[in-house]
């Protein structure tokens, strides 16, 4: 078990280092998936199988899919060369963070502690989650709902929204109109509005995917 822990820890550290240093965004995100899998293995070795499964399903599954969808939606390949970080920019932050890390390592080393051993299974976690922590579950559900609404609001086009809404509700009534000229004009307007609606619809799968973790949790 100990060997498994250290191997997985090494994989997690290397993969995470690659996440923050790769300039290709898709490569970085795939390394992040590797890092999350390694952390899931670590959760297994710590005797927390339920959380390990959640790590794979929600983090590596749902959240990383959100990232990949966003990257594909935004087509960011052109930006990468402009945003390449000069090697010199790493020095200051890395030194400061290394000092903080050294302090944490020193503080942790002061007192030696071993784990209790044995695993805490899903039943114990669920009993605790829906017993004393049930208020937290309700708050988490409200947070996820607020995030859903907020993401929809933030990602939507502010000026395009009313026109799209109007076209959406006007379209079924206008379509069977007998007036040829009016129908033609309405049709032209509709196709224009439909283009806007299509552009706006592109953000809808993101919202949909954003809600998936909510259901899973």
């Amino acid at each position: 078990m100990t060997a498994l822990f250290y191997i997985a820890a090494a994989v997690a550290v290397v993969a995470t280092l690659l996440v923050v240093t790769r300039s290709n965004l898709v490569h970085a995100l795939l390394y992040l998936v590797v890092s999350l899998f390694a952390v899931a293995v670590i959760f297994f070795t710590l005797g927390a199988p339920f959380v390990a499964a959640l790590e794979v399903i929600v983090y590596a599954g749902a959240i990383m899919m959100l990232f990949i969808f966003a990257v594909m939606l935004l087509n960011v390949r052109a930006d990468e060369d402009q945003m390449r970080v000069p090697r010199r920019a790493w020095i200051g932050p890395v030194v400061l963070v290394a000092v903080l890390l050294a302090e944490v390592v020193y503080g942790v080393q002061l007192k030696d502690a071993t784990l209790a051993g044995g695993e805490v299974g899903p039943a114990a976690v669920s009993t605790s989650l829906f017993g004393p922590y049930v208020l937290g579950v309700e708050l988490a559900s409200m947070l996820l709902l607020a995030a859903l609404v907020g993401a929809r609001h933030v990602a939507a086009q502010p000026d395009a929204a009313p026109a799209e809404l109007g076209a959406e509700y006007a379209a079924p009534g206008d379509a069977p109109g007998s007036d040829a000229a009016g129908a033609g004009a309405a049709g032209a307007h509709e196709t224009d509005a439909a283009g806007d609606a299509g552009a706006d619809e592109a953000s809808a799968p993101d919202d949909q995917a954003g809600r998936e973790p909510a259901e899973a949790v």
Binding site: V19, V108, G117, G150
Partner: protein, 102 residues
């Protein structure tokens, strides 16, 4: 069974958090910044689970579930902001959003 020491798990959480933090400070791509925040939240969750495993209690795992829910909410809003950012500035460089002189 679990002969891993708590110290090793906490140090690993610290290392992962530090890598994420350094990336957050240096990188300028908004999506990478969000990924770094995910790394840091994940490291915090690892510390929670390790501390729960220290005493054999389920509370650490419950806290990890709450961290997970928060990370999901944060990334949904963050990627929504990324989409708006891209529409507004044409690229994802966080230095473009300097209107408030931050």
């Amino acid at each position: 069974m679990a002969s891993v020491s708590l110290n090793a798990a906490l140090i690993l959480a610290g290392v992962l958090f530090s890598i994420g933090f350094a990336g957050l400070l240096v990188r300028r791509n908004l999506i990478v910044v969000l990924a770094c925040i995910e790394i840091m939240l994940n490291a915090a969750g690892l510390a929670f689970v390790a501390a729960g495993a220290r005493w054999g209690h389920a509370d650490g795992q419950v806290m990890f579930i709450f961290v997970l829910a928060m990370a999901a909410a944060e990334v949904a809003v963050g990627l929504g902001i990324a989409i708006r950012f891209r529409h507004q500035f044409g690229r994802l460089d966080v230095d473009d959003a300097d209107e408030m002189k931050g």
